[in-house]
């Protein structure tokens, strides 16, 4: 049975959702603004026979995830931007060895230490690989606490189904905000599909080896990367997620994800009262990006506005999706400032007028 409606901090929501989704192995290193997540699990994991380890670094933590994953467990780590940079090596190895695992990034401002205010400046890192090599990481971007819970389940399922690391990309605000949430029921670990590739000692079978080093002269690495690409094509075909809130009168749509989308929604309401009709397109999977859905929508309006808590990263995917089917306007805020709906409303008015006063027009 799903849970009662509960009022919880966003970091706790992810932690509890992970437990209910069958995660029994958590490894992480403290960093603001997501410390409530490991703190919660340090108490929760022992209650359910799980493992909590505060690793000595993010590098160690992601490699513990790698180990727990290859041993067959549902494993997770969480961090915020600087820590996620350190995890990239491990993510690349997991992608290469096709190991499932969930990585939570509650983004903060950067580059460097930046600050601890909400930001969304790790879009490139999350969606473009982050680590080295020819791989992709499915990235899920929740829009609020309920989705933090629901998409945590989805993240574990995608990870297992396709044997890939999956990233849940939130931000510092989402990790702190208290909102009501209903948790899906506990999954039964016994019900999960059996993994026939894990390492648990070779009793009664041939020994297994998992590795990413592919030196074979017969194009071993070449073939492996083609295989990975096939898998990424399947993920793109099956796992796209987005939300639209549009009506026929819309003259413009705004594209935003995560916290930015919620701010945009409030701005849209404000503008409707003024007679300016703007629809919302909210990508939920950032990789794969719902390009076709956005393209179709863009062809019905004259303008596409893009709002991000960064100086312009997702906008590149919007450009790839929309091309010259509509005018593209961009408004971004660097980390450290939480914009208000009024700021976004100003941007949308300006984009509607085309006066370039707030934000900028993107030349395609």
């Amino acid at each position: 049975m799903p849970s009662e409606k509960m009022l919880m901090n966003g970091s706790h929501v992810v932690a509890e959702a992970a437990v209910r989704a069958g995660c029994r192995y958590y490894f992480g290193y403290p960093i603001t603004p997501q410390n409530e997540l490991p703190e919660y699990l340090s108490a929760r994991m022992p209650e359910i026979g799980g493992t909590f380890i505060q690793g000595e670094s993010e590098i160690a933590s992601i490699n513990m995830v790698l180990g727990a994953s290859v041993a067959g467990g549902r494993a997770m780590t969480s961090s915020s931007s600087p820590g996620v940079s350190l995890k990239q090596e491990g993510i690349s190895y997991m992608a290469g060895m096709e190991l499932p695992g969930v990585i939570i990034n509650m983004m903060r401002g950067g580059p460097g230490l930046g600050n601890i205010a909400p930001s969304a400046a790790d879009y490139f890192q999350a969606t473009r690989g982050g680590g080295h090599g020819d791989y992709r990481t499915p990235v899920l971007a929740p829009g609020g606490s309920q989705e933090l819970a629901d998409l945590t389940f989805v993240a574990f399922d995608i990870a297992d189904k396709y044997r890939t690391p999956v990233m849940l990309l939130g931000d510092g605000l989402m990790g702190q905000v208290m909102e009501p949430v209903v948790f899906p029921d506990f999954i039964n670990l016994e019900d999960l599909p059996k993994k026939d590739w894990i390492l648990d000692g070779c009793k009664g079978r041939e020994p297994r080896a998992l590795f990413s080093l592919l030196l074979g002269q017969d194009g071993q690495l070449y073939k492996h990367n083609l295989h990975l690409q096939e898998k990424y094509d399947q993920i793109t075909a099956n796992e796209l997620r987005w939300e639209t809130k549009t009506q026929d009168e819309d003259e413009m749509i705004i594209v935003a994800y995560g916290t930015a989308a919620r701010i945009a929604e409030s701005a849209i309401e404000e503008l409707r009262a003024e007679g300016l009709n703007v629809g919302l397109f909210r990508p939920i999977t950032l990789w794969p990006y719902p390009m076709a859905a956005l393209r179709e929508l863009a062809s019905k309006v004259s303008k596409v506005a893009v709002f991000e808590l960064s100086m312009g990263q997702m906008v590149e995917d919007v450009v790839l999706s929309v091309g010259d089917r509509a005018e593209i306007h961009f408004y971004g805020l660097p980390g450290g400032i939480i914009p208000t709906p009024a700021d976004v409303a100003d941007f949308l008015r300006s984009a509607s007028r085309g006066d370039g006063k707030v934000g900028r027009r993107i030349d395609v």
Partner: protein
């Protein structure tokens, strides 16, 4: 009397090794260390209960030679990976097999903290005082005066720092129950090393804590000397920086002489 009854098999190819030719150079210590690990697992009947983590280094392909479950770790991260495995399978034997660069340079943090947590893991540490795989650069364990491709004229304390004795450092931790250093270059030491590896496995099975066996290992190729001289160098020179023997033992086991 049948042949089986008349003859007892006292020596053969270990089941814990695959029948594959290795890529190790002539005179290299890695092959001996592999053989020892395999013999110990066979004799303790552990092959099917074992999960191994090889390093990034010359032994990166160890899964082609060891006949049990293995997973590659990124360079230096073997003990973090092993930690994750051991937490999922507390009842299995988990071992890492690591070189000096892997264990005592890039992986120092993972090494110290896994040991200090007292992870029930056995580590086989191959100290050849050099980066074998990448062609002979300075290792953290390169001895003073020793030539490496990045210590022209020999390792200089002022310029390159000191050889690190990570085994001694680990012994300080309460999570560590057993550390012994042996060499792979005399019959006596090889036998000693085998006992030490077995003891390390036993510590783990008895849930005592972390243990490590350091094996001084010749790398004739990158030391740029003959195998014979390499063995001699271990026995006469390397042991001055890395004295052989038990470094820590709080297992309480009574060793049979």
């Amino acid at each position: 009397m049948s042949a089986e009854a008349a003859y007892k098999k006292i020596f053969g190819f270990p089941e814990s090794l695959k029948d594959n030719p290795t890529h190790y150079c002539p005179g290299c210590g890695h092959s001996i260390a592999h053989r020892l690990v395999a013999e110990c697992l066979d004799e303790m009947n552990l092959r099917e209960e074992t999960i191994g983590v090889p390093p990034v280094g010359c032994a990166v392909l160890a899964y082609n030679y060891f006949n049990f479950d293995m997973v590659e770790a990124p360079h230096g991260r073997a003990l973090a990976v092993a930690t994750g495995i051991k937490r999922v399978h507390p009842d299995k034997l988990v071992l890492t097999y690591q070189g000096d660069g892997d264990l005592a340079a890039i992986g120092t943090a993972e090494t110290i903290h896994a040991a200090n947590r007292g992870e029930r893991i056995s580590t086989i540490f191959i100290n050849n005082a050099i980066y074998g795989m990448t062609g002979g650069q300075m290792a953290p364990t390169t001895t003073l005066g020793q030539n490496a491709t990045t210590t022209p004229g020999g390792r200089d304390q002022r310029l390159h720092g000191n050889p690190i004795d990570i085994s001694q450092m680990l012994a300080v931790s309460n999570g560590v129950v057993y550390v012994e250093r042996c060499a792979l270059t005399t019959i006596k030491q090889i036998n000693r090393a085998k006992k030490a590896i077995k003891k390390s496995f036993r510590c783990q099975l008895d849930d005592l804590g972390f243990s490590l066996v350091e094996l001084l290992s010749p790398c004739p190729t990158n030391w740029k000397i003959s195998p014979k001289d390499a063995w001699k160098w271990v026995n006469e020179e390397m042991v001055k920086t890395y004295p052989l023997g038990v470094i820590k033992d709080i297992t309480g086991y009574e060793d049979k002489k």
